[in-house]
Each structure stands twice: as structure tokens, then as C-alpha cells.
Symmetry: none
Amino acid sequence: MNTAEDVGTVSGEDAPRPTRKDAARNRALLIAAAREVFARRGLEASLDDIARQAGVGVGTAYRHFGNKHELAEAIMHETIDEVVAAADRALEADDAWDGLVEFLESVLELQTKDRGLREVLMGVHEAKTDAMQDRLTARVRHLLERAQRDGQARADAESGDVGAMLMMLCHVADLGGDIAPTLWQRYVPTLLSALRPGGPPLPGRALTDAEMHTAIVCQHRMRPPRSTE
Amino acid sequence: MNTAEDVGTVSGEDAPRPTRKDAARNRALLIAAAREVFARRGLEASLDDIARQAGVGVGTAYRHFGNKHELAEAIMHETIDEVVAAADRALEADDAWDGLVEFLESVLELQTKDRGLREVLMGVHEAKTDAMQDRLTARVRHLLERAQRDGQARADAESGDVGAMLMMLCHVADLGGDIAPTLWQRYVPTLLSALRPGGPPLPGRALTDAEMHTAIVCQHRMRPPRSTE
Amino acid sequence: MNTAEDVGTVSGEDAPRPTRKDAARNRALLIAAAREVFARRGLEASLDDIARQAGVGVGTAYRHFGNKHELAEAIMHETIDEVVAAADRALEADDAWDGLVEFLESVLELQTKDRGLREVLMGVHEAKTDAMQDRLTARVRHLLERAQRDGQARADAESGDVGAMLMMLCHVADLGGDIAPTLWQRYVPTLLSALRPGGPPLPGRALTDAEMHTAIVCQHRMRPPRSTE
Amino acid sequence: MNTAEDVGTVSGEDAPRPTRKDAARNRALLIAAAREVFARRGLEASLDDIARQAGVGVGTAYRHFGNKHELAEAIMHETIDEVVAAADRALEADDAWDGLVEFLESVLELQTKDRGLREVLMGVHEAKTDAMQDRLTARVRHLLERAQRDGQARADAESGDVGAMLMMLCHVADLGGDIAPTLWQRYVPTLLSALRPGGPPLPGRALTDAEMHTAIVCQHRMRPPRSTE
DNA sequence: TATGAATGAGAGTTCATTCAT
DNA sequence: AATGAATGAACTCTCATTCAT
């Protein structure tokens, strides 16, 4: 039923399979829209809103993501990429400790602008988050280990501590919100002091990476997908 | 207690009729059910679920509470009462500082068992929460001031700091969840050290009580009741 | 369980069955309340509202009336009484025609103040209205017949015509509402002229009393009572 | 119509895509169902009933109409179109007076079959009705003015009079219902005689178009849509 | 393959009617 | 006999997901 005119979509690029580019672009459009909408309105935003914002049909969203959860995961993936990038930058700081601090600040700055990331970091999510969490966890561990090697972080500090502190700061940042966007900075020195050599050790033990993983992944607040049966 | 004279007015317009026994029971059942359901599934749980859990029709819930918000408020009221009671107990501790610590621990223990309280403390609520927030804020202030008078807390600590720390700990407790229910205890000494005299002051400034109020109240996640009119 | 004190309700009237007066008063209270509420808010007002206004439990309303329809009927009964009274007064006017006109005006004045009556006259009701309709119909017939005997109304006018005209005027009065409360008066002369001797006869035929009855009774707008099954 | 240049923008943001065929069919089904259901049961009929009658899910109704009011408006629009068409036909009658009469008769015939229209004409509606009311009012005025120019209607007749008469006739038609579907015809000559030159003027004054508008629009019986905020 | 219309379960809320007190 | 709490069906509206086009 399509007349010849729509052959021109990619107009002369003689792609091996047609419309591959389209699909990629739509995926990108959806992710961009989802980030913006989730960032602005939180994870409860409707897929219709996101699709509209993307200039795409809802059906397209389902072709690419299967369900809302998967879309959110994809968003997280993209977003976590930025966080990972920040971590990688921090890993190359001259001073290991400065790198660690720099990383925390980068993350906080990122999540201040992005309610999507905020909710993700604060554990409002589900399932396949796995791989991304792990990528992040690994970086955190590296940052800490580097500082430990340089004698700037105490040997008994654990990467789970850094994670916990990051989350605490996220929460304060969330609390401060627009009223006091830099509130979280007030508590950075105190928290980080616990990682410094010399003082009394932290009591008990931190979450292992695996536990952290489970902990975050288990905190669904987004309803599970309906069983299609 | 009624004298004979007003017999026959409009068939007993006097005594407000002291809450029927079954009504009281149902109210209690509803509150119990709501606490349990909110505790387990969060504030987004439906009234239908709560009513079912209470073994009661939805209509009954509406007779007692008018709308979902009011029910949540009532639950919160009950729950905050426990928190306030804990604060009042803490205010009578022999040692002011021990009282403050004791209070934090009590709250954390309470919220560990109750996702309802967790969400309330973490600011996932609205409107009429006001009074309760304020009751709590006042206690926190008293606890801190008492410790300051005794020279156990630094003079420049602010009650907003205690609030922020409480929230951070709540968040860690939330993170630990069932996997590590005492995780939060690991970070108590570090955080509280910032309130102790002697060290470097906290940079910037804390949220005032009013700001804290606004910050928490503005973070609705439960939609406001539809205006019926 | 009743102590001796409530023997004093009727205090010394040694009524054959006690508390008869109470019941009567409650009935009266309910009717008064229903008239007021229906008059103000229309037939869609809830029984709860009416009971509250009466200072009585809903259950009492059901003891007296069985269901909302019956209550509305009772209201109508009371209200129609006034209309009937107006008709009886009109029947004693010196001039038969003046009596007829006077009657119409009385009814219109009554219904201007009473949305309850308005809806009743405009046929927004059901069932047992029967007896009352009939009482009214009879009066209308008498008024017309008296005017016919005096040669002031044409012989071929039918009482259904008077009824129809009354309804039309009610409708115009309803239309005028508060904006033009006397609008209906503009159309009285025209309509009544058709009842006067001398002009061309009305084409077709009017509704018989029985048809009028059926017509009005069939126009439920208030939902029928739920089948209890 | 699209030139080649914008090929590839966002996959066809150009043509608004001319209403799908099945969508159009469903919309038609809904409108048909709504007309039928509203016609049979009045404006209080539920959207569920209408959707069921249309053989369509409720959601579909909401996709097409947003809320119950809008659906009713759409129905009314369609229906008023017919009335307007009747008026336009009447405006082309050879004889101005015959045109006026013809119009009244058309409307009455239409509303005899359609309780939906009946309620609309009798002012049981709201808000956006405005435009349609006005379209109708304008026609009525034209019809009357044409008759006045031809000397067939008295100069001091007002279009509000025609409106009032139309409503009165609607009411009688409503009264006659199925029992006497032509009852209203009995009162046409009498009423219209008041518009004819020669007789005594109508006392008082008619409603202006603006007043008529207000009068009708203010008589909601259908509750306004809940503000979703 | 993309579109967006259709679906229907489910949420909050109301109210006529019943029934324990 | 009166009370008003309890009930539950019904209503309007939303949104994740499916499916015809």
C-alpha cells in the first residue's frame, strides 16, 4: 500500500537492511524523551507522555523495550554511563583522595539535576539493573582502593561504605531540593572523615558489593509488569 | 447525666453518643490493616486492599476517613505518636547526649519495621502532615538544645543537622533492609561526631525548621484528593 | 434496657401504645427536612443529607418510608396538599374564571419557591404518586367545570388542557428561574384564551385524566429502587 | 504534498494522519450508542453503559471524548446540527410564517424521538453548550425577523418568545410521550397566535437571547467533571 | 516496522439500603 | 423504635499493554 515515495526515508544510503537507522534513531529519541520526562516528573510518568515527548507512538516504545521497566533500565544505563565516566575521570586525578571526593561531588551534581538518576541511585527500581550497578560498584571499589594504596583512606574502609555515603548524600541533596541545592555539601567532610586513616574504625561491617546489589535491586517501587498469563 | 427536663427535645440531641463499640473495632481494624499494608507495600497501596485486609467494606473506610489522605494521616499520626513518645523518653535520659543517641536509635528501629513510617520520615507525603512534622521537629530541637546546654553538643549545631542525619540514617537503614538490618548503626558515630564540640564546624548552614517543613511537605508522591465539588 | 425515665415522654397522657408521638414527630421532621433539601437541591439529594438535616438517623427514614421513592412521595403528598388547598380556595372565588386563573397563579407561585414541587409537577417522578395526582386532577376538573357552567370557559375545553397549560407555565417559570421570576406571567393570557368561549376549538384532543396520570407516573428520572433479590 | 526535503525528520512529522478508519468507526459507534442510550435513559446514563452498547471498551470512550461532558457535547452538537438544518430549511420556505411553524414542528418531531435532545432543549446541560445554543438562537431570531418583515408576525414579538414557546411545546411533547405523541400539536395554534399581528400585546417582556443563554446554561443537572488538577 | 487506537483492570469515591447495637 | 455504621455495586477516569492498520 506504500507508494514509492517512502523508499526515500534514508534516501540513497543503500543500507543493507532498510530502516535500521530509523530504529536506532527512534530508540535514541525515546531514551532522550524518557530521560527528560523521568527527570522532570519521576518514574510514575506515563509511557504515553514519554512517547508523545519523543514524537513517536507508544507501540514503538514497546517494540524497543518490552515494558516500562525495561525502558527505565535503558535510561538508567545511559545515565549510569555518565556516572561511570565521572568515575573514570576521577580515577585519573593526580591525588587519589581528591579523585574520590571529586567523584562524589560529580555524582551529586548529576543527580541534583536529574530526578531520574536520583530515584535510581536511591534504589527505586528493579530487576536488570544488575549489570549497571556492577559497573558502578567496580569503579567505586577502584577509587577507594587507589586511595588506600596511597595511604589516604584507611585500610579497613570498604567500598560499601562509599556507596552508603553516596546514597546518604543523595538523600540529603533530595531533601535540600531547590530550597538548598548545596545542602549536601555540608555533610561531605563529616562522612568522608570516616574513611580517613587514624580515627576509630567504623563499627560492624559494610554491605558487600553483592549485598549492595541485592539491596538496591529489591527495592521496587515501580509496580511489577502485569502478568500477561 | 441528662436531667429530666430536656426529655423529648428531638429524641436525645444531647450526648454525642460515645462511639459505638463495633465502629471502634472496625476503626481499629482499619488502622491496623492500613498500618500493615502501608508498612508492607507503601503509601500507594489501595484502599480496597486495606479494606479487604481489614475484613471490611470500602465504604467503611470512607465513613471513618473521608479519603485516602486522611487515612494515611491518621496512620501517620498514630505512628508519629510512637516517635514522639520515644523522643519524650529520650528527653528524660540522665545524660543529654545519650538521650539524643537513644532517640535516633529508637526512630531507626521503628522505621526499620515500618515502611509507612519510613516514607513519612523520608518525606513522601503531604499537607496535613504539617502538625506532626512540627511536633517532631520541636522534640529534635529540644533534644539538641539540652545537649548543647550540657556542653555535649557544639553550640553551632543546628536542629536541621539532626534532622538531616536522621534522614540519612533512615536511608541507609532502608538500603540495608532485611539483608543488613543494623547497617545504619555503622554510620551513627561518624555522623554524630559532627555534632560534638571540638572539631571543625560544619560548612554552610543547615535547613531551618521552616525549610525542613517545606522540603518534606513538597515532596508529594501521593496525589492530592480530587476536589469533589 | 430503658430506664423508667422515658416513660415520661408523653407524660401522663396514658397513650394506648407508648412513643407513638415520637414516631409521628420524627416523620414530621423527616418530611420537613426532605422538603427543604429537595426544594433546595432537587431530587438527587442524598438520604443522608436529609436525615442529617432532620437530626435523625438514616435508618429512621427507612422505618418510615421504605425507600427514597416513598419518601419523595410523602413529600409530594404534603406539598400537593397545599396545591389542593389553593384549588379549594379557588373553587370558592366569586367568579369561576377568576378562580381558575387564581389557581394557576397560586401553583406557579408555589413551585417558584420549591424545586421539589417543580420537579414533581414536571413529571420527574414515579409510582404511588397516583392518589395525589388524582386529588389534584379532580380539583382541576371541578374548576374547569364550574367555569364552563358559568359560560366562562368553552364547553369543549378539557381538564387535560388545564393540566397541560399548567405544566407549560411551570416550565417557563423554571426557565425564567431567578433571572426573570415572573416570566411565566407573560404567557398566561395567551394560553388561557384557548379555554375561553368563542375562538376556534383546540385541534385534536387533550389527555384524559387517566392518560395524564400514566404520563406523569411513567417519567421516572429517579432511578428505580434496587431489587433486593 | 510533502516535498522530498524533509524526508527523515522524525519519521513523518508532517501529515496529521487522516483519522484511522477503525477509529472513525468506533467514534461513530460510540456516538450512535451515546445517542441511543442518552435518548433512552437520559444524560445520567453511565459511560460504561454507552461503551458496552457500542461494543467498545470504556477506555475508547475516553480516548475520543476526554470525559462524559465532552461526549454529551459531541452528541448534542450532532443533534443540534439537525435542528439547525431544519431551521435553515425553514428559512427558505416561501412563506415566512409557514417557515416558522414548520421549524417548530420539525424540532418537536425531532425531540419526540430523542430524549437527549429533549433534555438539551429543556436546559439540562452545561458549559460548552454555549456555542450550540447560540447557533440555534440566531436561527430562531432570523425566522422571527423574516416573518416580521413580511408582516406576518407582530413587531413587538421577541425571539425569546419563540424560544419560550418552543420549550413549552417540548414540555407538552414530553408529557404526551408515547401515549399521545402528537399532543403538542394541540397547543401550537394557541401559542403562535400570540405572535400574530392584531391581538393584544404580550405583557411584560421576554427573555433576551443573553438571558435565555444564561437560564439554560445554569440549569446543570449533570455534574461538572472533577478537576483533575 | 511504526503508529496510536483499543482494551480493561483497577483506583478513588458516592450513596441507597441493610442490620447490629 | 431509633441510630448510624457497614455494605457493595456503580460511577468516573487512568494507564500499562496489545493489536489492527
